[in-house]
Symmetry: none
Subunit: 440 residues, 2 copies
C-alpha cells in the first residue's frame, strides 16, 4: 500500500466486535478516532473491522501494522471468552501475556468499591503482552496499552483501547493524543481549536467559511454530532507561530459564524445554558410535553445544576397541562395542545407553579403517529416565559424533522438555544434551526 507521504506518520484503526460485523452497532469509535487523529495531522489510511475470532483479529493486525506507523484498536478487552484482542496482539508481536499485579489489584478494588463479588474471569483484564506500557482506564475495568511491534525494519506501535465509547474517548483524549504529539519532531507542533455550533448545517458552515482559511495556513474539519456540528481549526508549525496563527484563524471563524457558535471546546449546549444561568443568577423551570423530560434531563446532566434548575412539569397529557400548569381548557379545544397558545400558557404556568425566573415550554407531535395535514409530525411549539418579553412570553411553531427521537432531541436543543439566546440578550427567535421559508 502506498499513496502516503512518508515524512508524516500514518495510522490505521482496527475495530473489533461481533456487534460491528453483524450490523447491530454502528462503529462510531473509528469515526471519532479518525477525526481526532486528523486534527493533529495524522492521516488514517485504513479502518479494518472484524468480529470476535482470533484468526480474523490477527489478520487485521498483521495487515494494519504492515503499512501504518500507529495502529489504534478498540474492543475485545472485556472479561469474557469472546474478548480476544490481547491474545491476538501478543501472537502478532511474538510475545506472551503476563499478569500485571497492580492492574489486578485495581480491578479487585473496583469490585470491592461497588460492593459486588469479582467474577474470577475479570482478572483476564489484568493480562497484558510482555513489554506493554499500560494506558490506565479511569472509568472502567479494561485498561489499555501501547506496544511496539517490530515488523521487519519497522517498529510500528499498537495502541489498544477498550470499546466502550466513553472510556475509549477519555483515554484517547487524555493519554493517547498527548503521547502522539510528544512523538512529533520537537520544533513542530499541531494545535487545534474546536467550536460547537447549532443552527447551521454542515454545508451551510462550509459555505460560510469558504475562503476564510488559506489551506497552507490551517485546516478546517467538521464533525456532525447531531444536533450540533463541531468545527475544528488545526495548524501545524513551531510552537510560538502555531499558537499565534491559531488565535488569528479562530477569530475569523468566530466572526464568520456569529451566534451559531454556542461554545468553544467540547462544551455541550446544556453546559453553556447552565453557565449563563449561573452568571445571570436566574433560575429555570420546564414545562415539557413532546420532549417528555428530555430538557430537564439534559439540564441536570450538568454537575451543580441544582443551583439554577428548580425542576418542572412533564405535562404529557392534556389533563396534566390543566391540573399542574393551569392551561385553560378553552385554549386546548380552540387551538389544540400543539399550538403557540398552549405553549405560552404552559411556560407561564410553569413559572407560576414553581416561582422560577425563566419557564421554557415544549409541545409538539414527535410521531410517528398523531400528525395531520395542518400539523404534520415534527410540528413543535416552543415558548419562553421571562421578564422583559412582551406579555412576559415569546413563542413560535417549528417544523422539525426526523424520527421520534430526533424530533425530541431537536426540540430540546431549540428550547435550550432559546434560553441561551435570551440570556445573551438576543431575541430567541434568532435561533434559526428548522425555520421554514426564511433565510438569514
Amino acid at each position: 500500500m502506498n499513496d502516503h507521504n512518508l515524512a508524516k506518520p500514518v495510522a490505521a484503526i482496527i475495530s473489533t466486535g461481533d456487534e460491528l460485523v453483524t450490523g447491530r452497532t454502528v462503529d462510531t469509535n473509528a469515526t471519532f478516532i479518525a477525526e481526532r487523529l486528523g486534527a493533529i495531522g495524522i492521516e488514517v489510511c485504513s479502518v479494518i473491522t472484524v468480529g470476535d475470532y482470533p484468526d480474523r483479529i490477527v489478520w487485521a493486525w498483521q495487515h494494519s501494522l504492515a503499512h501504518a506507523d500507529v495502529v489504534i484498536s478498540t474492543g475485545g478487552l472485556g472479561p469474557t471468552a469472546d474478548d480476544l484482542t490481547s491474545e491476538s496482539v501478543a501472537r502478532v508481536a511474538g510475545t506472551q501475556l503476563k499478569l500485571d499485579q497492580s492492574e489486578a489489584e485495581r480491578i479487585r478494588q473496583h469490585f470491592q468499591k461497588v460492593g459486588r463479588p469479582m467474577p474470577e474471569n475479570n482478572l483476564k483484564q489484568a493480562l497484558f503482552p510482555i513489554g506493554a506500557e499500560i494506558v490506565p482506564n479511569k472509568l472502567g475495568t479494561a485498561a489499555g496499552y501501547r506496544l511496539v511491534v517490530p515488523m521487519n525494519e519497522r517498529r510500528p506501535v499498537a495502541v489498544v483501547l477498550p470499546g466502550v465509547p466513553r472510556e475509549m474517548k477519555a483515554m484517547l483524549e487524555d493519554q493517547v493524543i498527548p503521547w502522539l504529539l510528544q512523538q512529533a519532531p520537537e520544533d513542530r507542533c499541531t494545535l487545534s481549536r474546536t467550536f460547537q455550533t447549532f443552527g447551521m448545517s454542515e454545508s451551510a458552515l462550509d459555505e460560510a467559511l469558504e475562503g476564510a482559511i488559506d489551506p497552507s495556513k490551517g485546516r478546517l474539519s467538521f464533525r456532525a454530532s447531531f444536533p450540533q456540528v463541531s468545527v475544528r481549526v488545526t495548524v501545524t508549525d513551531t510552537r510560538t507561530d502555531a499558537e499565534h496563527r491559531l488565535d488569528g484563524l479562530a477569530q475569523i471563524v468566530r466572526e464568520r459564524l456569529g451566534a451559531a457558535v454556542i461554545a468553544e471546546g467540547e462544551t455541550t449546549m446544556e453546559e453553556v445554558v447552565g453557565k449563563l444561568l449561573r452568571e445571570h443568577r436566574r433560575t429555570l423551570t420546564v414545562a415539557e410535553s413532546c420532549s417528555g423530560g428530555l430538557v430537564g434531563n439534559r439540564i441536570t446532566n450538568v454537575p451543580g445544576s441544582s443551583d439554577y434548575f428548580v425542576g418542572g412539569v412533564i405535562a404529557y397529557s392534556n389533563e396534566l397541562k390543566q391540573r399542574l400548569l393551569g392551561v385553560q381548557e378553552r385554549t386546548l379545544t380552540t387551538h389544540g395542545a400543539v399550538s403557540e397558545e398552549t405553549a405560552r400558557e404552559m411556560a407561564l404556568g410553569a413559572r407560576r407553579a414553581t416561582g422560577a425566573d425563566l419557564g421554557i415550554a415544549t409541545t409538539g407531535i414527535a410521531g410517528p403517529d398523531g400528525g395531520t395535514a395542518e400539523k404534520p409530525v415534527g410540528t413543535v411549539a416552543i415558548a419562553l416565559a421571562a421578564d422583559g418579553l412582551d406579555d412576559g412570553v415569546r413563542s413560535r411553531v417549528y417544523r422539525l424533522w426526523g424520527n421520534r427521537e430526533w424530533v425530541k432531541l431537536l426540540t430540546s436543543q431549540v428550547a435550550l438555544d432559546w434560553v441561551r439566546r435570551y440570556l445573551l440578550g438576543l431575541d430567541p427567535l434568532t435561533s434559526v434551526f428548522g425555520m421554514r421559508g426564511r433565510k438569514r
Copy 2:
C-alpha cells in the same frame, strides 16, 4: 484468515471515501449491509474502509477477495477524479474498463430530464470492468455491478454499489439480496436470537451460561449496551434443524437467566414497560429528583406512550418536592431529601397529583458533589406507589456507581425495572442491580 465454516458463504465489505477515514462521516452503510447479510445467514468476516487512493482501494479489494466469497463495496462510483472504485476493481480483476452504451444513454437522458447540461466526466459512470453484470440504479446516475474475480482456484464475486445510502439501500434490497439468496445452497441457514438482560454484568452472564451451550451446536455472544447487556445465540444448520435447535438453546438461556431477561429481540426496557402498562391497562406517572426527567424521557421515546404515560413532576429542588408533590417539610428535615421516606412521599404525591395508577419516584446524589460519608455519591432512593403494595408503596436505597450520567441512567433503569417487575407480579426488590444494605 480462518475461523469460518467453509460450507457457508462468507462476505466482506469495503467502504470507500475520504470522508470515512477523516471522521467526517460515520459509516452507516457497512452496518446496514452487515445486518442485511446476517439476516440471510451470510456472515461478514471483515469491513475495510479506505480513502480515495487507488493503491489503498486495490489493497482493500485484494485482501477482501482473498478470504470472502462475496465482497460488497460502497462508494467511489461518482463522476469525479477521486472516484476510483471501478479502475481499482478492473486492476484487481486483471481487466479493462469499457463504456456501456445503454448506461451512457441512460445518464444522458437523466440530465435531459432534469434540464441540466451533462458534464462530460459523467460518462465515466458508464464505464464498467469487462464482464460486469450491471446492477441498475433507479434513484441516481451511478449504476452498480457484479463481477466474478478469479483468485487462484476460487471465483469470489465483487458487488459494487454507490455510496449514497438511499441508492445503495434500494439496490441492495431489490437486487443484491435476491441474487444472493438464489446462490445459497438450499439446505443451509444461520439463525440467531437475542435476549436483552438487566441486573447481571457481562461476566456474571458468562458464568451463568457456562456450559449451557455446546460450542459445536451454537455460539453465544454478548454486547454490553449500558445498562443492558444483550446475549445472542446463533446456530447454523439446515433450515428445519436450525430452527429446532435454536428453540432449544433459547429455552436454556431463558431458564438460566430468569427475570434478568427483560425481552427478546432488540427491545428496550422502556418498550417492555410500555407494553406491560398497555396490557395491564395501567397509567404511570413519575416524580423525578436525581434522574431529572430521564425516566419520563425514556418512557416517551416509545411511540404511543401517551396511552399510558400521563407525565409527572421533575422535583429537583426541595421546594418543588413540597409544592408539587406534597412532601412534608418534616420528612425532608428529619430524613433528608435522599431517603426512602422522601421517595415514598414523592411517589404517593405524584399519584395524588396526577391520578395515575403507578407512581415511580427517584431521589439521590448523582455527583460529583453532594456526597457525604453516610450518603456517598451514587446513593439513590427509589419508591413505587401502586395498589396492592403494603401501605400502597415500596421503597429502597441503592448504592449506584459511575459518573453523574451513569448514576442517572442506572437510576432510570432501576426505576423502570421496578415498574416491569411490579407488572409481572414480582416484588420490585428482586431487581438485583447494585443492591446494597437493608430491605424494606
